[in-house]
Amino acid sequence: MRNRWNRKCIICMLPGILGTLVFFVIPYIRMLYYSVIDNQYRRNFTGLSNYIKTIKNSYFILALKNSLLLILAGVTVLVIFSVVLSLFLYFGNINGRSAFILPMLLPTAAISVIWREIFKDAVTALPVYLLFWWKNTGICIILLTASFAAMDKEVFEAAAVDGVGSIRKHIYITIPMNIPVIIFTTLLSIVNSFRIFKESCLFYSSNYPPDCSYTLQYYMNNHFYKLDYQVLSSAAVLLSVFIILIIIFCFKLQKKYQF
């Protein structure tokens, strides 16, 4: 009985799994293969030379530097901002979530028009950072407030009896109790910082932005246009390995702080 049920469960999964295999997993393995050959037609095995070529490329280094800067500066600010904001929104019972959630759903293309108008003469990457914060605060707030809502409120009563003030209460109780979610929010924000390409591309409306905003995605997109699959696949493999390492690190960290 149990066995037949399991078989039915597996059959339910088949369409989804099959699609994922055809469009994501199997081609990814082929991409791994592309990254170690010299050319699609000759198909000579070249080992790691594509990777070495990628790492030495000055544009790749520039792109990597900008992407890392976005992770360090952009994500840190975003996470701190949204933790503070959701503390106030949830515990202060303030309305106004919609204002923060809507930007996440509205199509970027529609917003980029006004962004181009406002930041016409910007020379730094600030507009892209602003767009990143504007777009991603919503998802952080949703995750954080959902986690606050699931908290056991008895701790607060105990703290109130001991005379703990409201700011200290949150610093010493709420934040430590929600560390796993904060870590997950950080992870998601890092991942979203790699997704900012669409915003950036629409803002500059070109494939060649100023140096300060040239991120890894531009590097890869431009190689796609040049049909330079070997360089593209080695860059993609490097990027995916980097992201997988971050994911594993975050999950390990999350396990450590789980209650």
């Binding site: 399991n6 469960c9 339910c12 999964m13 369409p15 989804g16 799994i17 994922t20 055809v22 469009f23 994501f24 199997i26 081609p27 990814y28 082929r30 991409m31 106030f88 202060g92 106004g96 919609s98 204002a99 923060f100 809507l102 930007p103 996440m104 759903l105 509205l106 199509p107 970027t108 293309a109 529609a110 917003i111 980029s112 028009v113 006004i114 181009r116 108008e117 406002i118 605060t137 995750l143 959902a146 809502a149 796993p180 997950f184 992870l187 997704r195 390409f197 669409k198 591309c201 629409l202 409306s205 997109n221 796609f224 593209l232 993609a236 990027l239 995916s240 992201i243 997988i244 994911i247």
Partner: protein
């Protein structure tokens, strides 16, 4: 004395609370400001867009068409898939889920070459199907749905299973009513995501009449600035309406907080 002190504490905290509420309202207004500005700026340009810019119509309908079709097919694929993954007991379940999480975290630039290879092998590059299929199997919805389904009441499923042998009936009667909120939330997210599509039509399509509105907006230099504002406003309306009708499902636990 103690009573007086408590009252004082309450008073100051109330004052500071009003202050904080004011600040948060200001931030909320800043978040909404770009949308308002777009609407204000669009006034007076509608005639130019609607009567002179005919490429706008097919692109707008394409955006809507892709988003609607992808979201509906995706629901039909991921609900059984998430059900199988969270209810079946077989080996490799955790591994499959882990693969989905990693795929969810990958930026488009990593999956674009795999997608492209998959589409090329199937011979559906430069067609509507080629845009729809890879997005149908995008892993985000599945991961969220699976997290939510893990927590549902299994006794309802067992009860329905006593009455019927068909797995579809079990899903329809035992699972879907329980995960309605999650389905609505995922529907909203997936629609917004697909509606926002830029890179896929840019890279996988050649003909203009298959492309989407973001592509139109990204080629801003081709058109006069004024035309883009009303286009942006009209572009925002469907997502905005969808948010008004489904937005309440984003409250509470949407699921993905802890993986």
């Amino acid at each position: 004395m103690a009573c007086k002190k408590e009252k004082l504490y309450y008073k100051t905290s109330k004052l500071s609370f009003i202050f904080i509420k004011g600040i948060i309202n200001v931030i909320a207004i800043i978040f909404i400001l770009p949308v308002l500005l777009t609407v204000i700026k669009s006034a007076g340009h509608y005639r130019e867009l609607l009567f002179d810019c005919f490429i706008f119509y097919p692109m707008f309908w394409n955006s809507l068409f892709y988003a609607t079709v992808i979201t509906i097919i995706q629901m039909a694929v991921i609900i059984p898939c998430a059900f199988g993954l969270s209810n079946g007991k077989f080996r490799g379940r955790k591994f499959i889920f882990f693969i989905y999480v990693i795929l969810m975290m990958m930026p488009f630039q990593v999956t674009m070459l795999p997608n492209y290879i998959g589409l090329r092998e199937l011979g559906i590059l430069n067609t509507r199907t080629g845009i729809i299929l890879p997005m149908v199997f995008s892993p985000f919805g599945l991961v969220v749905m699976h997290q939510y389904m893990k927590k549902i009441n299994t006794s309802v499923i067992e009860a329905v299973r006593l009455e019927t042998n068909s797995v579809i009936t079990v899903i329809w009667k035992g699972v879907v009513p329980q995960v309605k909120t999650c389905i609505m939330a995922v529907f909203l997210f997936t629609f917004a995501e697909c509606y926002n599509m830029l890179e896929q039509p840019m890279l996988f399509l050649k003909e203009d009449n298959l492309k989407t509105l973001p592509v139109f907006i990204s080629q801003a230099d081709k058109y006069e600035g004024g035309v883009l504002f009303p286009a942006a406003v009209i572009y925002m309306i469907p997502v905005f309406l969808l948010y008004l009708s489904l937005g309440k499902n984003l409250e509470g636990r949407t699921g993905a907080g802890n993986l």
